[in-house]
Symmetry: C2
Subunit: 246 residues, 2 copies
Amino acid sequence: MTTDHIGHFPFLVEPFSEDFTGRLSWRFLGNHLLRCASLHAGTHGFGYSQMQEAHHAWVLSRLVIELDEAPRTGDAYVIDTWVSRIYRQFTDRLFAITDGQGRIFGHASSIWALIDIDSRQPLDLSAMENGGFSEAVCERTVPIAAPGRVRVKSEQPERCLQARYSDLDINGHVNSIRYIEMVLDLFPPTLLAEHPARRIEMSYCAETYAGEELQLFHDAEPSGRHSVEIRKIDGQVVVKAAIELS
Amino acid sequence: MTTDHIGHFPFLVEPFSEDFTGRLSWRFLGNHLLRCASLHAGTHGFGYSQMQEAHHAWVLSRLVIELDEAPRTGDAYVIDTWVSRIYRQFTDRLFAITDGQGRIFGHASSIWALIDIDSRQPLDLSAMENGGFSEAVCERTVPIAAPGRVRVKSEQPERCLQARYSDLDINGHVNSIRYIEMVLDLFPPTLLAEHPARRIEMSYCAETYAGEELQLFHDAEPSGRHSVEIRKIDGQVVVKAAIELS
């Protein structure tokens, strides 16, 4: 189903897809957002397999998710997604998460680059043959702030972990959404039960492979905002995250 | 769809539900098995919510999964499930995982107890009012061995971890399938790529709550079988597992 280049993907919160609060888990929601992005790109001719033929691959650079309220077990929800902008080496993809009948659960925004698989260099998306993907652009916006800048001052890791089998996705590196769980795992569940995450901002800087050690650095700011950096042992930043609890 | 008290649940291996080998992940498969169990029980009058009304709850005691071959991205698969036996405090539930057209991906068996929520004591399932669930029993079998006995001799934990937000399910304790991932996380992914797990046997002995520390003890037996015990700091055994790699 596609109207005005907006993809509509209906889901149900199935048992065993909730977190301990009984609401759709960030893991399920996050992976469904990525899946909808992939399906929508596929129907417009620039999905994973089409890009692979041209030796290109989409790389997620930023992801912001804001949830006013996560759906509960048995609730129906719809993910709308569309490409809102193409500019040089990046394209913005937006998401609306609703009950399909006017109730808004939340929104998300993402920034992607298209890289050449061989050179690992990003392509200029605004200068592609035949206008590239510009026909897919839809100007609908979402009412969430753009990602900000994350700086973590703490030099003492709050947690160290090793990337393992269950962290990896089909590409052999740590799944983008798994990092959201790693960040949320820094908080005691009792805190998250009373103050669920309202906004999660992820900036993806590097890939992590199986066996690599990761260190999580965490600043709790007076504003209630939490900043997290996930770094490799040699200091390379893998992920920067900002979390706002409700 | 139900025939002869067998529930048939069709699925598709969706993108982001695979592990790094490109096959349906144990996490997805495992949670789908539990979900099918729950749906099937619900249609027969002994599901989660029906039992809750009577202050009863199903508790998973054993789970064995054997996979000849896991389906890949885009593959359709069907989970058949039925109750095969009711005896005293336990009931056996079996599963067949096929492509719905004769190709067998694997099988699973599980043992459940029904406890009284207040007393935490198991009920005698063979002595329930009106025959209990005996009408649902179907004698179809599965060609996998019953779970064996797991003994781990190693006294040196191979890994220690703390139960965190992302490990918990809606009940507030570590998800049964998450323990399978904890066990598989003991193996280097390079090993699992060449020798994927063929049989996983889980025996659930106690619940783990957020913040509790777990220690994983692991014996590699000369037969190629791996035995794992997950224990709390005080020595209480939470899970016993036996893994056979292919």
